[in-house]
Amino acid sequence: MADISIAPQDDIRAKDTPLIRLKEIYKIYQMGDETVHATDGISLDIYRGEFVAIVGKSGSGKSTLMNIIGALDVPTKGNYYIDGHDTSSMTDNELADIRNRRIGFIFQQYNLLPKLSILENVELPLLYQGVKEPERKIRAMEELEKVGLKEKAKMRPIQLSGGQQQRVSIARALASRPSLILADEPTGALDSKTSREVLDIIKKLNDEGNTIVMITHDPTIAVRARRVVRIIDGKVDFDGSAEEYGKL
């Protein structure tokens, strides 16, 4: 089993070691007689403190890429290192631990559990880490306070607006103090005003030193990042600063 006992924040490595290293990542599906290369040899390094937007149209392979970065899936070929750990040969449970301790997910559909309270939702990653009460509740409450939803802790997700729910999911992503925050279309289900608010929070998290990878199909959202990686047909088509991307 991979060494994952070290808490991410204790990982002090040289600044030039990437947090995420994708080496020749291929994800190949067999669909009937056809072989589909969802990602076709993607190599990518992401360093600590970066704010990267991965942009691409649907079917471009960005979702497959996000699954691999999120340790939800393993590549058919190639290696993916996060915090120096190679996920390509990990078991189900090892991947679960990587997701639990090193990655904070923000989903388009928030993916909050409807039967749990806001606080309990934020507690979940800590629960799976084995953090006991009362520490778990205290830490979850702190995260809720950061996103300004401390007062709603006892409520159910459905009682909140979309923007508020997304802030809960941000609090949940932060709760395990991950190395990487992975946001999958975080504004996809929000109107433009709340989208801006959520993006502001994400940007603020980045300013505070969190590494953020945001998947989006929307170029106007992508430019809010510092670095943009565009995926077309499973390949990296563009990799540069947001300014450069904006000029394309």
Binding site: N93, A96, R99, N100, N111, L127, Y128, Q129
Partner: protein, 391 residues
């Protein structure tokens, strides 16, 4: 502990579904308890009514020949040699004759000669006066004990009968005691309370039979009845050397046959109840599978957040186990209440047996665990990506 809380929450969150899952188990457990308890209650009440008839009694009849004889004294000796098996003995000598007092004749009264233990063997008690005694036997006394009806009909009450004179086939007997009323419902000629007992020795003398040919011997423990029969047969064979000259029959043999029948019946019913528990188990599995499918997205989210397979597995197994345990408890309550209610309705004392409760509870929890395992395993193996994508 956390998984346990989560399971409770999930059950509470889906009350209707959880209740329907439990329903199968509730019915299954309740029916097992009801069947087993009512059958055993029925058995007990049957036992009781049989023991009124004397399941501890062994009837012996002998045919004495000129050279080989067994008399009452021999039987008493035999009893003394086997004190651990046998309790009481009485010869039974039916007296065919007319009972007269004054100028009136009683025609339905059964008259017989017995030992002083007959009262105990029958399980009766005295209402007034005294029982027959050993000295009555030894002295071939002309004394009699009578039933409540006989005393009441002849003399107006039990107390008034004591010391009165009666005639049996012309021989004068003095009433020394009256037995308590046995039949609560009716008091009639030829009934349970219409009898006269006299010492067997006196009866033998009046009838001029000499030897007594019928006896009742009781065993201390009903379970020893068969062994008692064997002992008596062995003894009689050693005297007569011919098993045509005697017959030994235990009242409990009838009970044994009855028990066997009830045993088969309860096994059959238990089997049916067992099948209903099995169906309940399949129900649990079915609902748990539906629950897994319904909650694919939840499982996906939990896995994405880092829940290991074991955690998901535990969550679902515990949920199934808690559901079936709760169903089991409700089933026990329902089964027990129904058992008592039905028992009251059919007039039998039925108490839920500990064994039935334990068995059905164990089975219901077991069913929860076994049939909860498969869906739980399926949930644990779900691919988080597919699970997240499902709506």
């Amino acid at each position: 502990m956390e998984s346990f809380k989560m399971a409770l929450r999930s059950i509470a969150g889906n009350k209707m579904r959880s209740f329907l899952t439990m329903l199968g188990i509730i019915i299954g457990v309740a029916s097992v308890i009801m069947l087993v308890s009512i059958v055993s209650g029925y058995m007990n009440s049957m036992m009781e009514s049989f023991s009124d008839m004397g399941v501890d009694q062994i009837n012996v009849s002998v045919t004495n020949t000129a050279s080989r004889t067994v008399d009452t004294d021999d039987f008493y000796e035999f009893l003394d040699e086997n004190p651990e098996t046998f309790a009481y003995l009485t010869p039974t000598a039916t007296v065919n004759g007319r009972l007269k007092y004054g100028n009136d004749t009683m025609s339905g009264t059964s008259i017989g000669g017995y030992s002083e233990d007959y009262l105990t063997i029958k399980g009766y008690e005295m209402e007034a006066g005294r029982n027959l005694s050993y000295s009555d036997m030894a002295g071939e006394k002309r004394v009699a004990v009578m039933g409540y009806y006989t005393a009441w009909y002849m003399f107006g009450s039990a107390e008034e009968a004591i010391g009165e004179k009666i005639r049996i086939n012309g021989n004068v007997f003095y009433v020394v005691g009256v037995v308590k009323r046995q039949d609560e419902d009716s008091l009639e000629e030829g009934g349970m309370d219409d009898f006269v007992w006299i010492p067997y020795s006196t009866a033998g003398k009046i009838a001029r039979t000499g030897f007594m040919s019928s006896y009742i011997i009781t065993v201390r423990d009903v379970n020893d009845a068969d062994a008692g029969v064997t002992k008596i047969e062995d003894y009689l064979y050693s005297v007569f050397k011919d098993d045509d000259l005697y017959s030994v029959y235990a009242n409990s043999e009838m009970l044994d046959q009855m028990n066997e029948m009830i045993g088969q019946l309860s096994m059959m019913l238990g089997g049916i109840a067992g099948i209903s528990l099995l169906v309940a188990g399949v129900g649990v599995m079915n609902i748990m599978l539906v629950s897994v499918t319904e909650r694919t997205r939840e499982i996906g989210i939990r896995k994405a957040l880092g829940a290991r397979r074991g955690v998901i597995m535990t969550q679902f197994v515990i949920e199934a186990a808690v559901t079936s345990t709760m169903g089991g408890i409700l089933g026990i309550i329902m089964g027990s209440v129904m058992t008592v209610l039905i028992g009251t309705a059919i007039g039998i004392t039925c108490t839920p047996t500990f064994g039935a409760v334990l068995l059905s509870f164990g089975v219901s929890v077991g069913i929860g665990l076994i049939f909860g395992y498969m869906p739980a395993n399926r949930a644990a193996r779900l691919n988080p990506i597919d699970a997240l994508r499902s709506e």
